[in-house]
């Protein structure tokens, strides 16, 4: 469904991604783990069209070449990103944020209404706060809102950038349950995470990104049990 081939990304003159290759199949949960600064967010931003890729890079989605597509257009192809730091619209209410998620679906009023109901079912807390201005929400609620907003676009594939950041463990578990739900209802998931344990726990497959290069690729389970992975990313001593 999504394929990255030989993707190079530079910030100015410094190359940050050195030709990575990743693929995600339909209905999978794929995760990319790695240390801070490894290039995980960069990868997602590159896929979303927010940053340019160097010549020779190739990103295909459902057979379409999206390497040089603008972010707005990529969203219209039903590929959504839940960005790092949530990035909800602070002065808009919860409902307004969700409506922005469905921005491109404006013709389908009843469909949007249905999606709103579905999303409120998934996130009852958001429904309670639906008229609240979103900058007054707590961290966990913001994360929920960010995910819900991305779902409002009815994407075929959703990418999440470090959804666990700054959240209490219980809240994190809730989020990850929802991510599983999302996959189960037919949406493909690409997940970038600091919290390797939780991510690998739900992922079908995973990649390990180190210094801008893919150094390992395997099933989620295998990576969880891999000694090097455990040492480096799961905080376990030998």
């Amino acid at each position: 469904m999504l394929e990255l081939r030989n993707v190079h990304v530079s910030y100015g003159s410094i190359e940050v991604l050195h030709g990575i290759n990743i693929h995600v199949e339909k209905n999978e949960i794929v995760t990319i783990i790695g240390a801070n600064g490894a290039g995980k967010s960069t990868t997602l931003n590159a896929i979303s069209g927010l940053i340019p890729k160097r010549k020779g890079s190739s990103i295909t989605y459902n057979g379409m070449d999206i390497t040089n597509m603008s972010a707005e257009t990529i969203v219209s192809k039903r590929l959504s990103l839940v960005p790092e730091g949530r990035r909800i619209f602070p002065d808009m209410t919860v409902t307004e944020n969700l409506e922005m998620g469905a921005y491109l679906r404006f013709k389908d009023k009843s469909g949007i209404q249905k999606s709103l109901e579905e999303v409120y079912e998934l996130f009852p807390r958001l429904e309670e706060r639906k008229k609240q201005v979103s900058k007054t929400l707590s961290g966990g609620e913001l994360q929920m809102l960010a995910v819900a907003r991305a779902l409002m676009a009815k994407p075929e594939m959703i990418m999440l950038d470090e959804p666990s950041t700054g959240l209490a463990p219980l809240v994190v578990k809730g989020i990850f349950d929802i991510i599983k739900n999302v996959r189960d209802s037919g949406t493909t998931v690409l997940l970038v995470e600091q919290n390797a344990k939780m991510a690998l726990g739900i992922a079908d497959r995973g990649y390990v990104l180190k210094n801008g290069q893919i150094v390992m690729e395997d099933t989620g389970k295998n990576l969880l049990n891999n000694d090097d992975v455990r040492k480096a990313y799961l905080g376990e001593k030998k």
Binding site: S48, G49, L50, S70, A71, E72, V75, S76, S80, L81, P83, R87, I88, F89, P90, D91, M92, E96, E99, M100, G101, Y103, L104, F106, R149, A153
Partner: protein, 291 residues
């Protein structure tokens, strides 16, 4: 008592126009993150475009004004294209200087084309004063107040309720996130700028009958509009009208009850006080970053 009310009436009329000018600053500041120091000159441009369409081309008023507004939209677009868009990602100081440059350019261009003297402009709604319960009121002033407030209200409804308006708000709050929603941010920002220019231009058209059409008016009224925007809260749309009316009334009261010399000073005094005491203005939120 009547005397005091009369001051309020005068202040209200002038203040509503300050509010209209102020909202131009607010719109652009929130979307572009820069204070458009040429906003006052857009007001002047508006006055001149209607002078051209009505007094020089001889079109009837109901054609002259819409055509003049279209001209303002076009001029606004040209300014956005040449001076703002190229500097989208430049540092704030550079962009500020660019806006100052645009203002100087517009002012001088107007002087080259039209000379430096004032041009009279007829009042559409009449300049004959009427006596309403002891208060002397001029129809043009009533019109200015009503239209000024109405426009701001319409703008706020547009921003709150329409899809385009929501896209503009989203763009103003988080440009990148807006892109991720599928919003064409570049178009949004253009639209915001062009809209602000047209509103400013329209304010100029409302000013023309009472205050003549003069190339240097942009400075006078631009500063007032800016003070009003700051007073009401640079981040608040409603604030601009509130700030404008307060400024208009304060000017009137200060000149009448204090000394007439306070009239011009008041705007600058307010600017100073706001920046020192509460930079976010009357209706602003607490955090005021950017420039």
């Amino acid at each position: 008592m009547i005397f005091f009310l009369q001051q309020l009436v005068q202040g209200l009329a002038l203040g509503s126009i300050y509010g209209l000018i102020a909202i131009g600053y607010v719109l652009i500041y929130n979307t572009w993150g820069v204070l458009n120091f040429a906003q006052g000159d857009m007001v002047m441009v508006g006055a001149f475009t209607v002078l051209v369409t009505y007094s020089m081309w001889g079109l009837p008023m109901y054609l002259a004004i819409p055509l003049a507004i279209v001209l303002c939209l076009v001029i606004g677009y040209i300014i956005e294209l040449t001076a703002f868009r190229p500097l989208l990602n430049a540092e704030n100081q550079r962009r500020l200087i660019a806006t100052i440059g645009v203002g100087i350019f517009l002012r001088n261009l107007a002087q080259i084309i039209f000379g430096a003297d004032a041009y009279p402009f007829p009042s559409i709604f009449g300049n004959k004063s009427m006596n309403i319960g002891g208060l002397v009121v001029v129809p043009q002033d009533i019109w200015n107040t009503v239209v000024g407030i109405l426009l701001v209200v319409l703008l706020m409804i547009f921003l709150k309720r329409t899809r385009m308006g929501k896209a503009m708000r989203a763009t103003a709050q988080d440009r990148e996130a807006a892109r991720l929603m599928g919003v064409n941010v570049r178009n949004c920002m253009s639209l915001t700028f062009v809209l602000a220019s047209a509103i400013g231009g329209f304010a100029g058209m409302l000013l023309a009958p009472k205050y003549f059409v003069v190339a240097t008016h942009g400075l006078t009224f631009g500063n007032k509009g800016f003070a009003a925007a700051l007073l009401g809260g640079i981040a608040s749309n409603a604030g601009s009208m509130v700030g404008g009316i307060i400024l208009g009334i304060l000017e009137s009261l200060a000149a009448v009850y204090g000394s007439s010399l306070w009239q011009t000073a008041i705007a600058f005094l307010i600017l100073f006080l706001v920046l020192v005491v509460k930079p976010s203005g009357i209706m602003g939120k607490k955090d005021v970053r950017k420039v």
